[in-house]
Symmetry: C2
Subunit: 540 residues, 2 copies
């Protein structure tokens, strides 16, 4: 477990076929084991996952000449052609990714290349372009949207460009509150480097322990403290990018009208336009104080109305999240006594850090009370903070027990929030029901804006057939429902390959043409992450 | 004068060769007339400006067939080929623009076309593309960077596309706090439409009375209330754009990770990619209360340190501005008794609106005091609010008196703020001195961010030669100094044609290639605003 002040150490050792540190994996809590058959019916234990050594990987299509030039670019010890290295870079951490990691045959990149700095990234792109090798930029490996699939497009081979050697604090401007971090710096590494100066970035997505600064930027991440610190987009004040056809440095000033904000072309580009090598971010002093308060609401709608007031009146919590009735019942049931007492209605967690905590808490509390909320003390909120990075471990235990578990998310305006939630929930339940599976859907709101909020769904299902075959159509149905009901295809998980077809609907033909035009200009040979964001068919 | 609660009525009747309502033009205050010879030496009265009827305009190169198709697109009464109509659309309101309006020969567009809605804009672009006619989108006509010059590029003619008939509140979502406004709605029209629902947009740039919602978006405007309400960029939650090759609607949710934020491709595009026809903006309840407080600092550096604390600790004023010693002395000297008492050191104006005013004022005040500021009551701040849209009237009077007057602006990080201010001030003074002109340079900070702030300069000069010939090289020298010293070429005036060469330096070759690639895709015939943002040479 992390340090219990909520700041955590670096821990890059990701389990090859599951989440996080293998030593932290744990069985299902008794409460969950008791609940599951009631919710999902009898569940069959799946075949045991294969061992790493048993996996048969696709043969490498890199020639010896290809390997020589990559070795020249980064040094021979940083070109990894072992089966284990390639398997560890075969994909991200969506449930389909993890199910594929349980299979005997696996599609993997032909090598893993580890450049040390911007110039080596530049050299790798030059080499890849000349040799016709596709490049999948790889940060923490935590994508849950297929952004790391070893797709080669029209190239003869594909390599994973592991960026974690680009690590460290490159520059710090304490007066302006800006830090330049190398793109491969992980969340905990960044916080530790900044903490030495009394500073914090304050970006805590669930992937925090593994994901990298460059990945946060490339995927438009949003963290648990977004109510106070903003989404990662808003923290970025500059970037340095190596594209196949030239470098670019952007971000001269905190506000500008010097043409379109080109930083925003690269935020969300998921490695299809270039490789982000440095990110300048806004930082702030480490908060000296942290205050917790949880709230209970009669139902999700009342809680959502409370969150809307808080967002629109700028009451100022650092964290605010609302769990619906289903999530409140299940997730609080496992965390202990305090949770159980609250496991009715919809629960809200608030955390306050930084300046003016007392006023901000008072203002937030007044608005939540006015919306029908009842303060429930600090215990449950504090427990949430302790366990906030551990959800993915639970998913591994569920998969081991044969329970399908996946998350997905969207966002919309406040006026459309309840309708969109219902539509997504129905699509999930009906989709699984058609496949003969019982399911349990939970939802929370964890990112609020004056004009709307995110919706994050966790679904459990008792699938008797091949879960990959069942989930595909259900996920498609949910994506259709999101777009038909006014949501965005992703609030913070990004597009990858899994959402590319729906992005096309969201931004339309003209939008895709803009992305394609930039892609053609910066990466004319289409070596960078083929098929991510824009499907390979649309790129051609 | 506008209503004295700071909200003002619509007033679209712009003086043809100066700023604003001709009836509101006023002579120079006695204090200024006394001061000018002391600052700038003896000034010769210029030739009187020509009358509108005396102006000789460039002959129209539109054929009768061209006119027929435009008349079919928008109705014959909305195609204006009169000399007056064309002169009124010949440029924006920079000082060079106004000096050119004083000349007998003027370069003007070949016609003014006034579409009524999105579909008519679409039809105009189709017609213009087919007939080889360049299109200059025209909102309030307040550009100060040459974005409205009637440049035809490779086309045989050029029309001004006046968008002010696209006016009105198209949709209002009171729950989400979002309004969709037609792009040609002016600032006062928008506020008046919203006020009927108890709502405010709260965007008050100096161009407020004339400029349009679409113009604010296209030029990345920032208003006087930016400390509280954010720059216009941050108010936009959606846009609808007609491009020469297709329409696009963007902005499904308040936060998204669905690829790069393409709204940002059009914000700051200044009409080169498409014509923004609708803008969805975040709105909020009209503040019930407004509190003023002015402050006095020993010098600019101390004031800047105060503003930095306020920005970095999120103290929350709605307006905060710092005038340097030169601006404090001159601008406060004219506003009356209260001003005179403060005309030493550097002055700060703060205004608080909305929720939690008492706490925000107390927090801000504590930080300004700690930085060496002394509270100076509400009077001067209230006087600033009364006169805040009147600066451009004063410029007209100065030009009539033979005094050159222009403004320019940039932004940078806090750590670089004083250095950049010195560099710009030196470039201005040295540039004028080399041309044998005495000058007086004033500076203020009016937009703050956690990581930096804007710098806005007003320069007066006693030029004996042709002011256009003198100003050109001085302005180039200043732009060079801005880029050499870490500033952005514009914080909120945008790029237009005047800054295009420097934008190229700011975003580099790869940045320009990105813009050009989008331009080629959306406007392959290059009919839209040729030479704005990207110079005509770079587009080819």
């Amino acid at each position: 477990m992390g340090q219990d002040n909520g700041r955590v150490d670096a821990d890059p050792s990701m389990r090859w076929n599951g989440w996080g540190d293998p030593d932290k994996a744990k069985g299902l809590p008794l409460a969950v084991r008791t609940l599951l058959p009631l919710l999902l019916g009898r569940i069959r234990k799946p075949e045991p996952a294969v061992e790493l050594a048993q996996v048969r990987v696709t043969p490498s299509t890199l020639s010896d000449d290809d390997l020589v030039v990559f070795r020249n670019a980064v040094g021979p010890q940083h070109v990894d052609v072992t089966a284990e290295g390639r398997i560890r870079h075969a994909g991200g951490r969506s449930t389909p990714d993890l199910l594929r990691r349980r299979q005997r045959e696996q599609d993997v990149p032909d090598a893993v290349i580890r450049p040390a700095n911007h110039d080596e990234v530049r050299a790798c792109l030059d080499v890849a372009g000349r040799r016709g090798v596709a490049v999948i930029p790889f940060g923490g490996g935590t994508s849950v949207v297929g952004a790391l699939d070893p797709e080669r497009g029209d190239q003869h081979a594909v390599v994973s460009l592991d960026l974690r050697r680009l690590s460290g604090l490159i520059r710090l401007d304490e007066i302006s509150g800006e830090a330049v971090l190398a793109a491969g710096t992980t969340g905990p590494e960044a916080e530790s480097l900044l903490a030495a100066h009394g500073l914090e970035l304050g970006h805590y997505p669930q992937s925090f322990r593994y994901a990298t600064i460059g990945g946060f930027a490339a995927a438009r991440s949003s963290g648990q403290n977004s109510a106070g610190n903003g989404r990662f987009d808003t923290m970025v004040t500059g970037i340095r990018v190596a594209t196949p056809t030239g470098d670019i440095e952007l971000g001269r000033s905190p506000g500008s009208a010097a043409g379109p904000d080109l930083i925003r072309v690269f935020l969300g580009s998921e490695g299809i336009f270039g490789v982000i090598t440095e990110v300048r971010v806004r930082v702030h002093p480490i908060p000296r104080e942290r205050v917790f308060e949880s709230w209970s609401f009669p139902d999700f709608a009342a809680g959502a109305a409370g969150l809307r007031s808080v967002a629109q009146q700028g009451a100022g919590p650092t964290v605010i999240r609302l769990s619906d009735e289903a999530e409140t019942a299940v997730s609080l049931a496992q965390v202990g006594k305090i949770g159980k007492a609250l496991a009715k209605g919809a629960s809200v967690v608030t955390v306050y850090e930084g300046e003016g905590i007392a006023e901000r808490r008072a203002r937030t509390g007044a608005l939540l009370s006015a919306a029908g909320g009842t303060s429930a003390g600090e215990g449950a909120a504090e427990e949430w903070l302790q366990g906030r990075f551990d959800g993915p471990y639970l998913r591994d235990s569920l998969l081991d027990a044969g329970v399908f578990c996946e998350t997905l998310e969207t966002a919309t305006t406040w006026s459309n929030l309840l309708e969109l939630r219902t539509a997504v929930e129905s699509a999930l339940k009906e989709g699984f029901a058609e496949a003969g599976a019982r399911s349990y859907v939970m939802c929370h709101v964890s990112h609020i804006y004056p004009t709307g909020a995110s919706l994050y769904f966790t679904v459990l299902a008792g699938i008797r057939a091949d879960p990959l075959a069942v989930w595909g159509p259900v996920k498609s149905r949910v994506n259709d429902a999101i777009l038909a009901n006014g949501g965005t295809i992703s609030h913070h998980h990004a597009v990858g390959r899994d959402h590319a077809a729906w992005l096309e609907q969201e931004i339309g033909d003209t939008g895709i043409r803009i992305l394609r035009a930039i892609k053609r200009e910066l990466d004319p040979a289409d070596i960078l992450n083929p098929g991510a964001v824009i499907s390979v068919e649309r790129t051609r």
